[in-house]
């Protein structure tokens, strides 16, 4: 029983009617890993501040819990499919593309999308130029058309590397850019937000706007990949 005692921390008989229940009770003694719960880590400073301000606003009657929840729900409802529709129309309708390049906010209002205070600046990928967007200081991102930014966009490694070795970073996304093509990085850190119109792939001639929208992915509108016809 010496081995058994070592494993369990105590000596007992596993046989009998309660053996299963007992095994469950002591399951933590075995080499099992559990996925961490969200609350397992201590909240960070700004998280605590957020909770405190939220409670104060509610307590003082400035906002209701329901209003806050609705606002969060609204933010979550902003999805890259919005941007995809805009890009698909730009591919489909050259006049719309010109409007979009001239004034993103004006053109996106056709889809009922409001960028708020941010100025949506639209960049077009062509045979000669490939655009890619980053915010080196934080995580500025065109949320009104793409929703919340992915983790890789906010990561320090993407933010630090894409400005100094964009071609290597793009390669890691599976995107090889020819030497003759100019790579333009856009560091978005003020009042502008950037949306990339990727290159329309070959083989999409005669497609409807809806079908075109189906191949425009989030990452292609940040500029790290080119859409493809699978």
């Amino acid at each position: 029983m010496a081995d058994e005692e070592e494993k369990h921390g105590h000596n007992h008989d596993h046989k009998g009617i309660d053996a299963d229940a007992h095994a469950l009770e002591h399951i933590h003694d075995h080499d099992r890993q559990f996925q961490a719960d969200i609350e397992d880590n201590e909240p960070e400073h700004y998280e605590l501040m957020t909770y405190a301000i939220k409670e104060l606003l509610v307590e003082k009657g400035h906002l209701s819990v329901d209003e806050i929840r609705r606002a969060q729900e609204k933010l979550d409802s902003w999805q890259p499919s919005r941007g995809a529709k805009i890009v698909a129309r730009a591919w489909f309708d050259p006049d719309y593309k010109q409007r979009l390049l001239k004034d993103g906010n004006e053109a996106m209002s056709d889809f009922g999308v409001d960028a708020g205070g941010a100025k949506l600046t639209v960049l077009e990928n062509t045979e000669d130029v490939h655009n890619v967007v980053v915010c080196t200081l934080c995580s500025c991102y065109p949320r009104s058309v793409l929703g919340l930014p992915p983790d890789w966009y906010r990561s320090k490694s993407y933010r630090a590397r894409v400005v100094i070795e964009p071609r290597e970073v793009l390669k890691e996304f599976g995107t090889d850019i020819d030497d003759e093509v100019t790579v333009r990085v856009h560091d978005s850190l003020a009042d502008l937000r950037y949306l990339v119109i990727p290159k329309r792939p070959k083989g999409t001639e005669g497609w409807s706007e809806d079908k075109l929208a189906s191949i425009v992915t989030r990452d292609s509108m940040v500029g790290v990949v080119n859409p493809s016809v699978s």
Partner: protein, 103 residues
């Protein structure tokens, strides 16, 4: 400027002007990344007037408004050992008070 309280300032730079970014390192909330400070670039476009985020960050009004530009830098100007193509660029949004005319 709204309501005629202050006469709107005309922007100092136009598209195509060469500018250099101030090579200064004041403490606090700054929106001009270190990697372009002291570097030479070209005004790609004038974006309009915006409240100054470096003041807004501390609860001030952000006024007077600042002109915002997109400045285009050659990668080779920013990094000594840039390995990509010669024509590669970075466009950075920079407020006017960070820029001076380059000769």
């Amino acid at each position: 400027m709204l309501f005629g309280v202050e006469v709107a300032m005309k922007q100092r730079f136009q598209k195509g002007d060469m500018v250099s970014v101030l090579n200064t390192h004041p403490p606090g909330h700054r929106r001009t990344p270190y990697y372009c400070r002291g570097k030479l670039g070209e005004i790609e476009r004038v974006c309009g007037e915006y409240k100054n985020p470096e003041e807004l960050a501390y609860g001030f009004s952000g006024e007077p408004f600042k002109w915002l530009y997109r400045v285009r830098f050659n990668q080779a100007e920013l990094w000594d050992h840039y390995s990509g193509s010669k024509g590669d660029t970075i466009d950075i949004d920079i407020y006017e008070h960070w820029l001076e005319a380059a000769t």
